[in-house]
């Protein structure tokens, strides 16, 4: 009887997990396997890839300075975006978590509001803000501060601005969840022991909110590094990111094997980052935010 119960309790989680596992297997694991296999094939002139085990694509991707440089640029943009998101995201998250405003839910709703608008539309909206005849230039010209429009668009900073606009809510939400979970009596205790407000923040609040900060940073970094639209819309001639190369290999050059190898490089790099995060902090922090 006891054995039967154990079998039942052992099988039940798997039974409950099976729809999710099936979906992950069919929609993620198997397609990734296909991509891995494709990466060892070769493009031919006819468009039908030459099957087999060829290391040519991998040799090209891993040794060519072109791919290495674009990858470095991608990681740099993702890093800078993450840093800006941290700097801009902490204050509003702190404010929402600590405010005594009765309608805190309304503030959170405002935070979620941008998600109701398409990411592409949000990205393109910067053209109307930073463009030659955009809002900022129109005001500067009207005030007589400048004689002709300042060029602000289509460079690396505008790509970062577009990414920050897209990713900031992720950062704020993660930090907010972390701050909201802090026992306020710990801060009170620090203050009663002689800490100034700044010291209490530095010694108590900030360290306890670091898991949320780390979760937000991970999300911002991974999503930035895999972005494709933002550099396309807001970037200049040489502001491509790694995902643009994947698109170009697969769509423009019809070189699916090379595109597969490129996408796997990005997947492995970002996967390593997630693994390190999971090892030291754990994915549960991200689950809390979206739970």
């Amino acid at each position: 009887m006891a054995t039967a119960d154990m079998n039942e309790s052992g099988a039940k989680p798997w039974l409950l997990l099976s729809p999710a596992l099936t979906a992950i297997t069919l929609l993620l694991a198997i397609p990734i396997c296909f991509i891995v296999v494709y990466s060892f094939w070769l493009k031919t002139a006819s468009g039908v890839p030459q099957t087999g085990f060829h290391l040519d694509n991998w040799a090209e991707v891993l040794t060519d300075v072109f791919y290495r440089d674009i990858l470095f640029t991608t990681l740099k943009i993702a890093f800078l975006t993450t840093v800006v998101c941290i700097l801009l995201g902490y204050v509003p998250a702190y404010f929402i978590a600590m405010t005594t405003f009765r309608h805190k839910a309304f503030l959170l709703l405002l935070l979620m509001l941008p998600f109701w608008i398409s990411y592409i539309i949000r990205t393109m909206s910067w053209i109307n803000i930073l463009g030659g005849s955009g809002a900022i230039n129109a005001v500067l010209l009207w005030l007589g501060i400048v004689d002709e429009p300042i060029r602000m668009l289509y460079n690396e900073p505008t790509v970062i601005i577009g990414l920050v606009h897209y990713l900031l809510p992720f950062m704020v939400l993660n930090i907010y969840v972390s701050l909201d979970g802090i026992d306020r009596s710990l801060v009170d205790a620090a203050r009663s022991l002689g800490c100034t407000g700044w010291q209490a923040f530095r010694e108590v609040t900030l360290p306890l909110s670091l898991p949320g900060l780390a979760a937000g940073s991970l999300l911002c970094f991974v999503l930035s590094a895999g972005t494709y639209i933002t550099p396309l819309v807001l970037g200049g001639p040489t502001d491509a990111m790694f995902a643009n190369l994947v698109f170009e290999a697969i769509i423009t050059q019809l070189n699916w094997p090379l595109g597969s190898a490129l996408s796997l490089v990005l997947l492995v790099l970002l996967g390593l980052l997630v693994t390190v995060y999971n090892r030291f902090i754990g994915m549960s922090q991200i689950a809390k935010t979206f739970g």
Binding site: S46, G47, G132, S133, R151, Y154, A240, T252, Q253
Partner: protein
């Protein structure tokens, strides 16, 4: 009375001036309903295999004003007349579409508004061409012969597409900043003029970039001898660019917002801008690039339904309406068909119907270099 007869009668009345265009299109719809109630269209198809009559055919095009014109003047009346739904999709370019077709099932995609002879050849080489029964497309006789012949040469005398329109990729410039005299003096070289650094735009498509770089380095784009000189010009242009644009909509936005003063551009899109009141000039430099677009029927498609749609789309009234909507001259021969008042005013229009002044991609030459040049351009474009 079959569907074709209904079209013919309505067209006859329209041609005689008894019907306005709107009434004509409305009656086409009514004819379609009648046809549906009295037994349905495509008797010929029914004779062969009723089960083979499709409920829908899929058409993919460029979107924007071009697709709007197709929807309004061609697909809606066709659907009303035949009961066959035209599923209307869009793509950003023939490359992207080819990737979609390759990953789809045969028959999933049917008709595509492809650009240039280059794409026709490429799709044929990928094994995606079909063979049209030209007897089912009598309006093909009205098409400019030069546009048809280049397709026949690729597909052993047969056709997998009908030519539909043509245009040029010339130089578009903002007259507030660049005069007509300056553009005529500098020609294609204005796109590598340091005076306009950060005010130049360019299409991020390797063929167009190389074509113009060949002109800038005084070479025949269809017989380039010094490729290094071409890449140098592509780099020169890249370093002066504000942005590589990716679509017609982005081209129009950059010019209209005066982010850029000069770029190469598609004749129809520039005409659309001019009609919106923007003071944008358009100039086809010596050796400038012409192209034609076709409606390509992909292998595995329901051929008779597609041929019926093609014939309908080539009816002068429909083709002219689409041309006026999308601002590209139709492929119809002006020596055979009266094209009305607007078409002759469209950029790139050739009243002789010979198209002798236009230069097209040599499909054999460009297809042969595609792998090498498109990959190299990908690098040069990004600063290498």
């Amino acid at each position: 009375m079959d569907t074709t007869k209904r079209y013919e009668r309505l067209l006859e009345r329209y041609r005689n001036g008894d019907l306005e265009r709107r009434t004509f299109l409305g009656l086409l719809g009514a004819a379609g309903i009648t046809a549906g109630l009295t037994g349905g269209p495509f008797k010929a198809l029914r004779g062969h295999a009723l089960a083979a009559k499709p409920d829908e055919v899929r058409f993919d095009g460029w979107g924007g004003v071009v697709s709007e014109a197709f929807r309004e003047y061609a697909f809606a009346p066709y659907t009303e007349a035949t009961g066959i739904e035209v599923v209307d999709g869009t793509f950003g370019g023939a490359d992207e579409y080819l990737a979609r077709v390759q990953s789809g099932q045969p028959g999933e995609y049917n008709l595509a508004h492809l650009s240039g002879v280059f794409d026709y050849a490429r799709y044929h080489n990928q094994g995606l061409s079909s063979t049209l029964n030209e007897d089912n497309i009598p309006n093909l006789d009205n098409v400019i012969p030069r546009l048809v012949d280049v397709f026949r040469a690729i597909t052993d005398g047969n056709l997998s597409a009908v030519p539909y329109d043509y245009g040029t990729t010339g130089i578009a410039y903002n007259r507030k900043h660049i005069s007509d005299d300056e553009i005529q003096e500098k020609g294609a070289s204005i796109l590598v003029d340091p005076e306009y650094k950060d005010r130049i735009g360019g299409w991020s498509e390797w063929k167009t970039r190389i074509w113009y770089a060949a002109l800038q380095s005084d070479q025949d784009p269809n017989d380039i001898q010094d490729m290094e000189a071409v890449w140098e010009k592509v780099r020169e242009n890249r370093d002066l660019l504000l942005k590589y644009w990716e679509s017609g909509a982005e081209l129009m936005s950059l010019l209209a917002e005066e982010e850029i003063y000069v770029t190469e551009g598609w004749s129809g899109r520039i005409r659309a801008l001019q009609d919106q009141g923007h003071d944008i000039g358009y100039y086809d430099p010596p050796g400038g690039l012409g192209w034609q677009e076709c409606i390509f029927v992909l292998k595995g498609s329901p051929m008779e339904a597609c041929e019926e749609l093609l014939n309908f789309m080539l009816e002068p009234e429909v083709a002219i309406a689409v041309a006026e909507g999308q601002f590209y001259p139709p492929a119809l021969d002006p020596q055979k068909v009266e094209l009305g008042e607007v078409v002759p005013t469209l950029p790139a229009f050739d009243p002789s119907g010979t198209l002798e002044n236009l230069n097209f991609f040599d499909p054999t030459y460009w297809n042969g270099n595609e792998d090498d040049w498109s990959q190299t351009f990908s690098r040069v474009q990004r600063g290498y």
